[in-house]
Amino acid sequence: MTTLYLDRPSPIHRLNPVTKLVGLLAVVLVVFALPQWWASVAILVLVMVPAAVASGVGGRLLLVTLIIAGPLMLVLIVAQGFFYPGRETILFALGALQFSLEGLLLAVGVGTRTAVLVAASVLLLLTTHPGALMTALTERGMPAKVSYVVSSTLQIIPAFRTRAESILLAQRSRGLRTRGNIVRRVRVLLPLVTPLVLGVFVDVEERSTAMEARAFGSTRSRVSYAVIPDSRGQQFSRWALIVLALAVVVLSFTGVLR
């Protein structure tokens, strides 16, 4: 299955998926409400790092965040450091280019904000099984069809890879050569892609029959088989987080937090 999820016995993993989703939402709101460079850094250090440690997947989280946000941060530092118009304090110079503190701080602020958003999202995905997330959301009113699109896509796509390999073997067994120049490689695409695409249509028809045979689409009220644990504490925390995040947004907009 295509997923970032890593199974660990951590408190973060055990949280209800909606709690984690609300947490992510709160982080997004706060990080955009407070544009100061130190706000993003504070959230990174005070919220994301402890959460990463508690989750037991800190290593993978760090890696993915670095891969996504790292290059961006470097580009920002160079661009803003050397070219930020509001430059006053010069730290050093490279030939005609002057590197300013203001530029550096701006870059750090934006880069860290991106890093926080990436880290929070990836942490959610690393600690939450897609099935649990879908069940939790469906219990709260998300249409079952959305859940189905997500779960079936995550599971069936890898199966297509296996099928693509089989198609390749079958065509090579009929003499198709796959190495060579670009023109040949393009011509080779048709006998490889066509069966894959047509196969999808054949499958979709049969699979939709199977779905109907399982009474999918019925309007009867449904209880989910899987139990997603929740608690009063978490319910309270979710409301508290939303209130807190909204408060920060309001305070920031009204100029109190500057």
Partner: protein
């Protein structure tokens, strides 16, 4: 064309050992049936013949070519492999277009290709469907197109992966006819099958596999009388063989005519 397999071992990248020392000599022009449970290594073995797999240990020879280091597309000139699922290879807009794919890749001259395509379609009973779109045909008809597309490649060796699965009586009869025709043309036919009756009646050599090894190898009469090997491989003997055993007859019975002759003999001896 002869097929030689010596000391063949194969280990999947996952570490699973699928073949544990297989030796097999298939004489040119013979018909070999391979039986055994799923997971016994039948498909893994047979996929070494056209280069899909390369031996971990041991050698595989197709005629005078060793398969080591040879491209599947090269071996396709000697070994035609008929896969089970036609929907994993049909791609052309017409049946004829798909059937001609193989010969085209093999560099067969265009005039000869038309001939081969028509002959193959006739053989599988789809003579008038050359211009039909393959996906307008039913699944069993699509299987026949896939079979025709390999027959059109005119290879000295033909490998059939479970050719009778899902076929009705007429479909099985067609496959039997094709096996016979290929044999009459001097081609080597190798088939993996779960249908013991089909195997007993249409092949002159049978190999029983289990857990990556060959447990029995010989004429159908001998192999299907080898209760021990069949048990270990969890394979049931063909219907007539079981009947003969249940009637207390000794010696093999694989075909209806043989059965009737033995019946006649046992009458006379009363």
């Amino acid at each position: 064309m002869k097929v030689s397999v010596h000391g063949l071992e194969y280990v999947y990248p996952s570490g699973v050992k699928a073949l544990d020392g297989v030796d097999l000599e298939v004489e040119s022009g013979s018909r070999l049936g391979i039986v055994g449970q799923n997971g016994a290594g039948k498909t893994t073995l047979v996929r070494h013949l056209n280069g899909i797999f390369q031996p971990t240990v041991g050698t595989v020879r197709i005629g005078d070519w060793e398969t080591k280091g040879r491209d599947i597309a090269d071996l396709a000139a000697r070994v035609g492999y008929v896969f089970q699922n036609p929907d994993e290879q049909l791609f052309a807009r017409t049946v004829a277009g798909d059937v001609s794919f193989g010969p085209r890749n093999l560099g067969v001259p265009p005039e000869r290709i038309d001939e081969l395509v028509n002959l193959s379609l006739e053989r599988v009973g789809l003579a008038g469907e050359g211009q039909t779109h393959p996906y307008h045909l039913s699944l069993s008809e699509r299987k026949r197109v896939a079979l025709a597309s390999v027959l059109a490649m005119n290879t000295p060796i033909v490998v059939l992966d479970e050719p009778t699965t899902g076929q009705d009586a007429r479909g099985v009869a067609m496959i039997e006819r094709i096996v016979r025709q290929l044999n009459e043309e001097g081609r080597t036919v190798i088939a993996i099958t779960h249908d013991m009756d089909f195997c007993a009646e249409n092949f002159d050599r049978v190999v029983v596999m289990a857990q990556g090894r060959i447990l029995a190898d010989g004429e159908p009469a001998d192999v299907f009388a080898n209760g021990e090997a069949l048990d270990e491989a969890r394979v049931e003997p063909p219907q007539l063989a079981r009947l003969a055993t249940a009637l207390g007859w000794t010696g093999p019975v694989l075909k209806v005519e043989t059965f009737v002759n033995r019946l006649r003999d046992s009458e006379r001896s009363r």
